[in-house]
Structure formats: structure tokens, C-alpha cells
């Protein structure tokens, strides 16, 4: 085990996979010589060279079009979309082409590609560079959606995404890039579609994703100390496929569920999970489902406003203290 940052884990995962498989290539804006605008791909160009690590023009459609063609013709491309907000210009190629090709060719065409993108707020980047758009991706049939919360999960899940024969959108949370954690040495591959129970409690089950996971864990510690409320915290990790088995069994244990979501409230991933919980284990609930989300509004770039909008430790703590009776 070594202590790495979330951003170092990105580069380590890509390097691990490029070393073992020559068909893995990497393209995006400023990812090569500059090492990425978030410095998450430092050292890859130096190790793997121009052919496999390529800077592209500023055109998200060109990046994904090239990645798609490469995937169809036998490579395993990793494409970076610098800010996940820019996926908005990519939806035709993502939704109508990448996600549908295997189905429409009757399984003749594989689409082993990964779209890596920096997602979410907290970095004062304003309304067009701070959105948490995992719910956009979640609603497209034919694409996997992964969002890790720790350096170890970045390494293991990104490696798994690269090896996956189907397209995966891999959301890295910008505000987590500097966070540190212990990461297994050597080859580390995780499994996509498995949620992780990070804390066991008796009173309430908190479902969280990405940046919301460390905040939920901190809130859970405070709830235990200050309110005597003992919370389970589940890191969802993958929205598609969704680990309903773990989620439902953890919900049933406490009978109370709170989702903590960075995406805006309307059609956020927690709404879908709430619907599944209501269908599958309604009779095990001891409290209405509570969703803690960013409101349905454009994000502000002003520090104080952005901090008010995105669920914080104190908002999670306050809401759960109030709702759990």
C-alpha cells in the first residue's frame, strides 16, 4: 500500500493498463505534455509517447468521435472530457452512437472505451464548469456510469472500466483530486457495479456518491458523537449497473434512508434509488425517504453561495438530526 492522491491514482491506473495492454490509448485536451489541467495524467506521455498519449484540438465531439472509431477498430481508448459540463455537446455521439452500437450491430461491434471527465463543484468554477452531471449519464441505456470517492477506488475502478468491453463514463470529482488515501501496490482491479459499505450503523442508512461520501462519513461521526444517531454509510460507486442488492439490504437493516447527492434535485440519482426502495422494500421503511441534494438551480461561482448549494457536512448533519426520530 502507498499513500496517493486521487489525481495520482488516475495516472497510476492508466499507466497500469497501458503497460499490460498495447491497445490502450489515451486522448484529450492538454493531457499529454501538460499532464492534464488537473495534473491527473502527469507522466503518461513521457512513458508511453506521442502515439498512445495524444493531445487533441479543443473539440469534445472530435475527441469522442475519434475514440469511438478507435474502439470500433480494435483499440481500447480512454478519452478525457476536461469538464463534465461539456458532455452536453457530446450527447449525440455518446447517447446515439457509442451507447447503441453493440445493440444495433447485433453484437458485432465492441465499444471498449472509457470517457473520463472531471465532474462536480466546490472549486469556484461557476455555473458551466461545476455541474454534477452523473444523473445525465445515468439515464442513457447502454452506458456504464462510475464515480469513485477515494484514490483506491479510482485506481481499481478505472482499471476495471478500461478492461470493460462496453463504454463507461468515469466521473472524477474535481474537489477530490487533492485528497489522499492508501492505494494497493501493483496491479489493482476492482469490480464495477458493487457498492461499498463504509460504516455500519443501526439508525439510518446514508447513500452517497463521490464527493458526498467523505462528507457523509464526517456527518455520520458527528451524528454518533453529538446525537447518538448511528448511521450506515454506503458508497454507491457505480450508478449503472446499480448494486441494488447491497443498497436494499442496508436500507432494510435500519428502515431509514437518506440520499446525499451532489447532482441537482430534479431527477437526481437519489430519486431513482428512492423509487426502487419504495417498490422493493416499502414495508421495511420506518421513515419517509429523505434526499439531500444541490437545489434545482444554476451553481454560483461565489465561494459562500456555492458552499450553500452543495450538500455540506453540516447540512447532512442537521437534516438527519431533524428527520430521524
Amino acid at each position: 500500500m502507498a499513500e496517493l492522491t486521487y489525481r495520482e491514482a488516475v495516472a497510476e491506473a492508466i499507466a497500469q493498463e497501458m503497460r499490460r495492454d498495447d491497445s490502450v490509448v489515451f486522448l484529450g485536451e492538454d493531457i499529454a505534455k501538460a499532464g492534464g489541467v488537473f495534473k491527473s495524467t502527469v507522466g503518461l506521455w513521457e512513458e508511453f509517447g506521442d502515439l498512445r498519449v495524444r493531445d487533441t484540438p479543443i473539440s469534445e465531439q472530435a475527441i469522442l468521435g475519434a475514440a469511438m472509431g478507435a474502439a470500433m477498430t480494435g483499440l481500447k481508448p480512454i478519452a478525457e472530457i476536461m469538464f463534465s459540463d461539456f458532455l452536453a455537446v457530446c450527447w449525440d455521439i455518446v447517447c446515439n452512437q457509442i451507447a447503441k452500437s453493440r445493440y444495433m450491430t447485433g453484437g458485432q461491434v465492441d465499444m471498449p472505451l472509457v470517457i473520463r471527465t472531471a465532474n462536480g463543484g466546490g472549486a469556484r468554477f461557476g455555473a458551466q464548469h461545476s455541474q454534477s452531471v452523473e444523473n445525465w449519464a445515468m439515464m442513457i441505456p447502454g452506458i456504464k456510469v462510475v464515480a469513485p470517492s477515494s484514490p483506491a477506488d479510482v485506481k481499481g475502478l478505472l482499471a476495471a472500466a478500461i478492461r470493460d468491453p462496453d463504454p463507461v463514463i468515469f466521473f472524477e470529482q474535481k474537489s477530490l483530486y487533492a485528497t489522499k488515501g492508501m492505494v494497493p501496490d501493483g496491479e489493482h482491479v476492482d469490480e464495477i457495479g458493487k457498492a461499498k459499505v463504509l460504516r455500519n450503523g443501526d439508525d439510518v442508512t446514508i447513500l452517497a456518491l463521490a464527493l458526498m461520501v467523505p462528507r457523509a462519513l464526517e456527518a455520520a461521526e458527528r451524528l454518533q458523537l453529538e446525537k447518538g444517531i448511528s448511521a450506515t454509510v454506503v458508497d454507491i460507486r457505480s450508478l449503472v449497473p446499480l448494486d441494488t442488492k447491497t443498497i436494499l439490504s442496508e436500507v432494510i437493516k435500519t428502515g431509514r434512508v437518506v440520499t446525499v447527492e451532489e447532482n441537482p434535485r430534479l431527477c437526481g440519482w437519489g430519486a431513482e434509488i428512492s423509487s426502487i426502495i419504495a417498490e422493493e422494500c416499502f414495508y421495511d421503511l420506518d421513515m419517509p425517504i429523505v434526499r439531500i441534494t444541490t437545489p434545482h438551480i444554476p451553481l454560483a461561482s461565489a465561494d459562500e453561495l456555492e458552499d450553500l448549494m452543495i450538500p455540506s457536512v453540516s447540512r447532512i448533519f442537521d437534516t438527519i438530526s431533524r428527520e430521524v426520530d
Binding site: 428502515g255 434535485r265 414495508y283 421495511d284 420506518d286 421513515m287 419517509p288 426520530d325
Partner: protein, 412 residues
């Protein structure tokens, strides 16, 4: 229209809503059965009394509420204003409170619900599975809300209490196959009443042997015509009931209620008759003013009560102010039954089997062995109200009336 918990008889203050026959959204007509209620005295079906749609159900099945409590709301056909009003009101509240209507609608709606009154799905499930009601357990949540953990710890406590009882579970487990029959509403009511009666009243049993020759003679002479005319047999019971009412005139303290340290004696006899519902329970509706009725009227009244009891058509008024109870076990040929007093009454009589027996009679100064229809009448009385001599004298009087009256002439 608001549907309220009805008044079922004058003395009933609360009732248990046992079953809903309709759910929210169902269309009902005024004659449709909407729900069933049970009190300590009666179970009955209640019709909707309005045409429309069930808009809201305010009381869950199993809850006990005061008379007049709102149970449901039926939106009558053509009347929609109330909904629109509520809708407009909600809109105003929501818009006032917030700039984020979508988020705020949830919060304001939640604020309006008094959650302490609501049972969560898991609590309902646990209560149903364990045959409990929310009244059985104290809620420790906010505003007394009953939480899942309250039910679970109640179940845990009860499990540990059971360890002090003789352990039969291992024996049952050996056989492996068993049937669990949860008490229904009537069974629970009976159980509660019987335990309370035994705990309240020091019961004393006294029995007399009756020679039913005169009654038998009347039944022999009148029975065939009766059966043809009335459609059912003329049994011993109406004769015993008639004799009972006559004897009570001489011993009025038996026709009363015990209220704390007082005995309330009634002028009229409202004779409760225990009726078995084909082994599915027991009810004791009354023959009102039985002391004013003859054998024929009593027989008809008993028959009519039995028919209505088995059709579940008794109302609370059929139980009102019972003053004395008779329990008839004779048809099973029992020798003697020690009945439990129907609270708050003073006494209860059991009539047991009548059979031909050799008995010694005295005729013209000589003892003879005769064959006579003999049966035992047994009375349990509450020793708080009267003593054995009073009850004994009453039994002697009852015996005398049954054995000496010329019943054949009286009835015809």
C-alpha cells in the same frame, strides 16, 4: 362528506375499526359496505351512506377511536370545491415559503402531517405479523411516534417474559406440525371479558336438580304443532327463562349490576341469552323486558336472536343493559357447567342436559322409584353482592316453579 365513527347503542363511547372494505380512490355507492366496527359488545358492517369516491382514510384498521372521530372522507359526486380550495391553499403556502417550489413542496407537505399519528410501513407490518395494535406499545419517537425499534424491543421483551412460563415449545417442536390461530376481534373481546370477570367477581356455584316432568308434558303436547307452526322445536329454554323471570321477582337482587360498592337493582329483566356461533364465538344478546313475556314470546325472541346472531346482524342495542344471563349447554347433554358471570351482572345460570333418570318420589305416603326427566340448573353468583342463602333460596324457588306449574295449560 366526512364519515364518522357511529354511535352504536347509548352506552358505547368508542369502537374499533376492524376492517376497511374500500380503499382510497374506490368508488362507493351509499349502500356499499364501507367498513366494519367492533365494540366490546358488537361487531357490525357500516355502509358508506353517500355516493362518491373515497378520498381519504383517516383511521387504520385495528385502531380504536371515540364515537364521532372522523374515519374517512367521501368526495360526493359533483362536489369538488373542497379539493380546489385545499389545492389553492397549498399553492399559496408553497409559493410564500420558497423560491424553490420543487424542493419546498416536499418540506411544507411534510410539515403539515402530524407524524406522531402515522404508523410507518415497517411498523404496520410488524404489528400485523405479531397480531398487535399500536395501542399495545408505547412510542418513544418524536411526539410519541411508534418507531420500528419500539416494536422490536417490545417483541424482544415479550419473548424474554415467556421464558418464565412453562416451556411447551420444545414439545410442540418435536411434533413439528402445528397450527397457529390468532385471536380474532370477538375472541379477544371474550378473552378480555372472561379474565376480567374472574378477576373481579368471587364466583360461587350452586346447583339444583330439576324434575322437568311438567315442562316435558307441555313440550310433548304442544311440540309437534309448534314445530309445524313456528318452524323450530320448542325447547326447555323458554320455560326455564320464564320460570327464572318469575323467581327473580321474589329475589330481585339477582337482577342487578355491581358498580364499585353499590348494587343497582333493575325493575325489568333484560335477559341475556348466550348463543354459540357454530364454535366460532359466543354472543349474549338480550330479550328485552323478558319478565313481561310469556313462554311463547320468549321462545320466539330466542329464535329470532339466534338467527340474527348467526347472520352477524345484531346491533349494540341487542346488548344494552342486560340484567341477568342464561347459558344453555343442555343440547350437548352436559351434566353441569360452572358459568362465568357476564360483567357487571350479579349472577348467571347454566342449563344443562335433561335425561330420563330413575328417581325416588313420594306418593300417598310411600316412596316409589319413578322415571323422570331430570336436569341440573347451576348458578354462579358474585359473593360480593349476595350470600349463599339468598342464592340458594332463589334456586329453590326456581325449582319449585319449574316443577309445579302446569306448563301445558299456561302455554296453550
Amino acid at each position: 362528506m366526512d364519515v364518522l365513527m357511529p354511535q352504536m347503542g347509548e352506552t358505547v363511547a368508542e369502537g374499533t375499526l376492524t376492517v376497511w372494505h374500500k380503499s382510497v380512490g374506490d368508488t362507493v355507492s351509499s349502500s356499499d359496505i364501507l367498513f366494519e366496527i367492533g365494540t366490546d359488545k358488537v361487531e357490525m358492517e357500516v355502509p358508506a351512506l353517500a355516493d362518491g369516491v373515497v378520498k381519504e382514510i383517516c383511521v387504520e384498521a385495528g385502531e380504536t377511536v371515540l364515537v364521532g372521530t372522523k374515519l374517512a372522507v367521501i368526495e360526493e359526486e359533483g362536489i369538488k370545491e373542497s379539493i380546489e380550495e385545499t389545492y389553492v391553499e397549498n399553492q399559496i403556502i408553497d409559493t410564500k415559503k420558497s423560491t424553490d417550489i420543487i424542493a419546498q413542496t416536499n418540506i411544507s407537505k411534510r410539515d403539515r402531517i402530524d407524524r406522531s399519528m402515522k404508523l410507518s410501513p415497517v411498523v404496520r407490518k410488524l404489528l400485523a405479523e405479531n397480531n398487535l395494535t399500536h395501542n399495545d406499545i408505547k412510542g418513544t419517537g418524536r411526539n410519541g411516534r411508534l418507531k420500528r425499534s419500539d416494536v422490536l424491543s417490545y417483541l424482544e421483551d415479550n419473548k424474554s417474559n415467556k421464558q418464565y412460563l412453562p416451556d411447551t415449545s420444545s414439545r410442540v417442536a418435536e411434533f413439528n406440525d402445528k397450527t397457529i390461530i390468532p385471536f380474532n376481534h370477538r375472541r379477544k373481546m371474550t378473552a378480555e371479558h372472561m379474565v376480567r370477570s374472574k378477576a373481579t367477581s368471587p364466583h360461587v356455584l350452586q346447583a339444583v336438580e330439576i324434575d322437568f316432568s311438567k315442562v316435558e308434558k307441555a313440550r310433548y303436547q304442544l311440540g309437534p304443532d309448534w314445530k309445524k307452526r313456528e318452524g323450530y322445536s320448542l325447547t326447555y329454554l323458554p320455560f326455564i327463562a320464564r320460570a327464572l323471570c318469575s323467581a327473580i321477582k321474589d329475589f330481585p337482587k339477582l337482577n342487578g349490576h355491581i358498580e364499585e360498592e353499590k348494587l343497582v337493582v333493575f325493575d325489568r329483566v333484560n335477559l341475556a341469552v348466550a348463543i354459540d356461533l357454530d364454535f366460532e364465538g359466543l354472543v349474549a344478546p338480550i330479550i328485552k323486558d323478558a319478565d313481561l313475556k310469556g313462554v311463547t314470546e320468549i321462545a320466539r325472541a330466542i329464535n329470532e336472536l339466534a338467527i340474527r346472531a348467526r347472520a352477524e346482524k345484531l346491533t349494540a342495542d341487542d346488548y344494552l343493559n342486560a340484567t341477568y344471563t342464561v347459558s344453555n349447554n343442555g343440547s350437548f347433554g352436559t351434566l353441569i357447567t360452572a358459568p362465568i358471570i357476564n360483567q357487571p351482572q350479579v349472577a348467571i345460570l347454566s342449563t344443562d342436559g335433561v335425561s330420563k333418570r330413575a328417581t325416588v318420589i313420594e306418593k300417598d305416603g310411600e316412596d316409589l322409584i319413578a322415571i323422570r326427566p331430570i336436569g341440573i340448573l347451576a348458578q354462579s353468583f358474585d359473593h360480593r353482592a349476595i350470600d349463599g342463602s339468598y342464592s340458594g333460596a332463589f334456586m329453590r324457588r326456581l325449582k319449585e316453579i319449574l316443577e309445579t306449574r302446569n306448563w301445558a295449560e299456561i302455554v296453550s
